[in-house]
């Protein structure tokens, strides 16, 4: 799918090259592809329709930068518009009230409410030094309350014990009283999963909300959710004054179009994303990464940004082509990649541009700018033949290179291992597309949950 899209877009880009201004005509084909991309990413149909109309309005008449084709320029507009809709900037959690600040977690069954409650507690304890109380009023799902109790134990948050037979409203009242008496800064209320069409359950959550008057009512959305995201988002936002969204399971390979649907329909910001099952797997939301992920084209977007920043586009395109073919990726290319990386503002700047799931994985691959310099030094000490055919590098050659670069032989070996990994990744990318590569990246990291 990824291959598909990217190649489709490159096709569009080609056909549009050499025009100076975006017009209704020259963006039509590209817009069709954008629609497909959004559909494949699970953005809901009604949202796509409105989005395309917006993009069209913004795009028509725009000048095309000399270094870009109209197709690339359009993708740029699409990307910017996606970012704008999804919030532009990261929005912090709101705790500005008389304590306890109450956070109500709501959403469909299995979306990740309980896990996110635990994660949020941990985040508030670690990052904001808050005293947190975790409460569950999920009296329906077997062992749901016990699940939260275990998570509370793991985060160091307090847990509000529930007696058998207690009803959600009783639990809420008692917990509120408890939190006040024990001076908790924050009280997180986990609730049972519910369907938007379950009137009794929607009535219940509405009453809980009225009773607790939470400062945050967070709508928990599974990143894998499809078209129905609009219906649920609409129904929940009609019954509850939602204040934000938590997008879960972003560590998977879904494209996450539900993020856009839910954001669009509720009008509320995505405040956090879940990126792992473990309790540290909660991160602030980055609209730019999400936009790239939904479009499924981190690489194309990267090119556009680079063009705008004045990086040698031809070199980058050459490399991208070589990457795609997976053929003949040698140490020269590796070096070029390192240089490009430095031109683009170093490794850390690069990370910000990757689609979120990739950059999340890549963060764990230790490689800072100093390492990049040393690596380059090592490659510089190699002969042309050695760079083109790394397989001829045996012990004696390695020793020579190490001496030349002023490093140890181990470091040369490390570089070669790294190169091989990269090469493998390139191959994977050419064979199975981005999704496979992401999986590959994760597999290279030490096993963790």
């Amino acid at each position: 799918m990824f291959d598909n899209l990217t190649s489709k877009f490159s096709g569009v880009i080609k056909t549009l090259k050499g025009e100076a201004r975006l017009t209704e005509d020259n963006i039509q084909e590209a817009l069709r592809e954008v629609r497909m991309a959004l559909l494949e990413a699970d953005v809901a149909l009604p949202v796509i329709k409105e989005f395309i109309a917006r993009v069209k309005e913004k795009a028509i008449g725009q000048d095309v930068m000399s270094s870009l084709s109209p197709g690339q320029a359009l993708v740029g507009v699409v990307h910017q518009e996606l970012i704008a809709i999804m919030g532009g900037e990261t929005v912090d959690i709101n705790l500005a009230t008389v304590p306890p600040a109450i956070i109500l977690m709501v959403g469909l069954q299995g979306a990740g409410k309980t896990t996110s409650s635990g994660k949020l507690a941990k985040w508030l304890i670690d990052h904001k030094k808050k005293k947190v109380l975790l409460v569950s009023c999920d009296i329906y799902r077997p062992a749901a309350i016990h699940q939260l109790e275990i998570l509370a134990g793991q985060t160091g948050a307090d847990f509000f014990p529930v007696h058998p037979g207690q009803q959600p409203k009783e639990i809420a009242n008692a917990a509120l009283d408890f939190a006040r008496r024990h001076h908790h800064d924050v009280m997180i209320m986990d609730t049972a999963g519910r369907l938007a069409i379950d009137e009794a359950m929607m009535q219940e959550i509405s009453e809980l909300n009225a009773l607790l008057k939470p400062i945050e009512t967070l709508f928990v959305v599974d990143a894998m959710q499809g078209q129905d995201a609009v219906n649920t988002a609409k129904a929940f936002s009609e019954v509850l004054p939602l204040t934000g969204i938590v997008l879960t399971k972003l560590d998977g390979d879904s494209r996450g179009g539900a993020a856009l649907s839910a954001r669009y329909i509720t009008g509320k910001p995505i405040k956090f994303v879940g990126v792992a099952e473990k309790l540290t797997g909660l991160e602030p939301f980055h609209p730019d990464r999400m936009a790239a992920r939904i479009l499924g084209m981190g690489d194309v977007l990267g090119l556009i940004e680079e063009a705008q920043r004045g990086v040698d586009l031809d070199e980058a395109e050459k490399l991208a082509k070589k990457m795609k073919s997976g053929k003949g990726f040698d140490l020269n290319d590796f070096k070029m990649q390192l240089q490009q990386m430095r031109n683009m503002g170093g490794m850390s700047a690069m990370m910000d541009k990757l689609p979120s799931q990739l950059s999340h994985a890549a963060q764990n691959v230790k490689m800072d700018d100093k390492v990049v310099n040393r690596t380059e030094g090592i490659i510089n000490s190699m002969t042309g033949q050695e760079r083109a055919k790394p397989e001829i590098l045996k012990a004696s050659r390695k020793r020579r290179i190490a001496v030349g670069a002023g490093v140890s032989v181990q470091e040369v070996n490390r570089l070669l291992a790294q190169f091989e990994q990269t090469q493998k990744m390139m191959k994977m990318m050419s064979k199975g597309g981005m999704a496979k590569m992401m999986r590959g990246l994760k597999g290279m990291l030490p096993g963790r949950r």
């Binding site: 699940q147 939260l148 959710q225 129905d228 560590d251 597999g443 949950r449």
Partner: protein, 328 residues
């Protein structure tokens, strides 16, 4: 969502309250009884087949999560039928599309036969929160009501209270649950728990073992390795087992369900699907894409549909019912 049945002058589509699958099925069947043709033509006035009509059908399919690829294929098939059969009005067109879908999905209607082995070992897998544990609770009841004895294996040793959740389902159904000792501090090996459960089932002459496993995303390579190992260990406990590898899919899932099937099938050799949460407003149309996914061999059968959180909310898959609900 956009509903075909509604005429052009009906209220704006977004105003329509979405209905659950169960209601849709019921309504769908009623419609068949009242002669679908008359109802539709009443609103549509036997309208002509034009591009707008195709667009509308496309919207219905896409909004049901059928996906670009399967939708394109279905509409191409439809155009062919229109040409061959010389269809001329809107009502016929809708009927033809439904028939195309029914014939695409009918091969998925293959119920599970558990009579081939004793104990018959069923392993459930899937992404996080899809409904594995709950489905086990319902499937246990389903087989029990057929007079079969069932045993549950608490193979999710990872998620908080997963074990307790399954034990609660065991209690509800009054069936034994083999789990790791609750007092043990260390997390047990899921394969070991299931291994023990199979041996217990053999010793007790149980008919069916349902093994729960922890939810996992296919991107978590080490967890995909772990589940492969679980399967290998099951085969050690009982040669030829597991006899069924069920992949549980959430009907709310969009196109990622296609990748889920692919990844879990590659790792485990999936033999059947369970589609859950159809009592909500999601239509689960992604199974049309899944039905077209396998290039060699028959498509994966859908063994059960999950229709709620209660122990009886389980149904076998019926392609025609499903398609009718999709269009409502």
């Amino acid at each position: 969502m956009l509903s075909f049945i509604k005429s052009k002058n009906s209220p704006a589509p977004t105003e329509l309250a979405p209905s659950s699958w169960a209601t849709r099925v019921k309504r769908g069947l009623e419609q068949t009884r009242n002669s679908l043709g008359r109802q539709v033509s009443g609103l549509f006035g036997g309208g002509r087949i034009d591009a707008a009509l195709y667009d509308e059908l496309e919207s219905i399919l896409l909004a049901a999560d059928t996906g670009v690829d399967a939708t394109t294929w279905l509409l191409d098939e439809l155009r062919r039928t229109v040409k061959w059969d010389g269809l001329t009005d809107a009502v016929q067109l809708k009927g033809a599309l439904q028939e195309t879908l029914v014939s695409l999905l009918a091969p998925l209607e293959r119920p599970l036969d558990t009579g081939t082995n004793k104990p018959f070992i069923i392993m459930l897998t899937g992404v996080n929160g899809a409904g594995k544990t709950t489905s086990i609770g319902k499937i246990a009841k389903y087989f029990q009501s057929q007079g079969k004895s069932v045993l549950l294996a608490a193979g999710d040793t990872f998620r908080a209270a997963a074990r307790e959740q399954l034990m609660a389902w065991g209690e509800r159904n009054n069936v034994a649950v083999i789990a790791q000792d609750g007092s043990s501090q260390q997390k047990a090996d899921p394969a070991a728990v299931i291994f023990d459960a199979i041996n217990a089932a053999k010793a007790r002459g149980i008919d069916i073992v349902l093994a729960d496993t922890a939810g996992r995303l296919a991107t978590q390579l080490h967890l995909m390795e772990e589940i492969k190992k679980v399967k290998r260990v099951i085969a050690k406990a009982e040669p030829g087992a597991p006899h069924e590898v069920l992949l549980v899919l959430d009907a709310n899932t969009g196109q990622n369900a296609v990748s889920q099937v692919q990844a879990f099938d590659a790792a485990l050799g999936v033999t059947g699907l369970v589609l859950t949460k159809l009592d909500g407003t999601a239509k689960g149309g992604v199974i049309a894409a899944i039905a077209r996914q396998r290039k060699e061999g028959p498509p994966l059968p859908i063994r059960f549909l999950g229709m709620g959180e209660g122990v009886d909310d389980l149904q076998p898959f019926d392609a025609r019912e499903f398609v009718e609900a999709l269009f409502d």
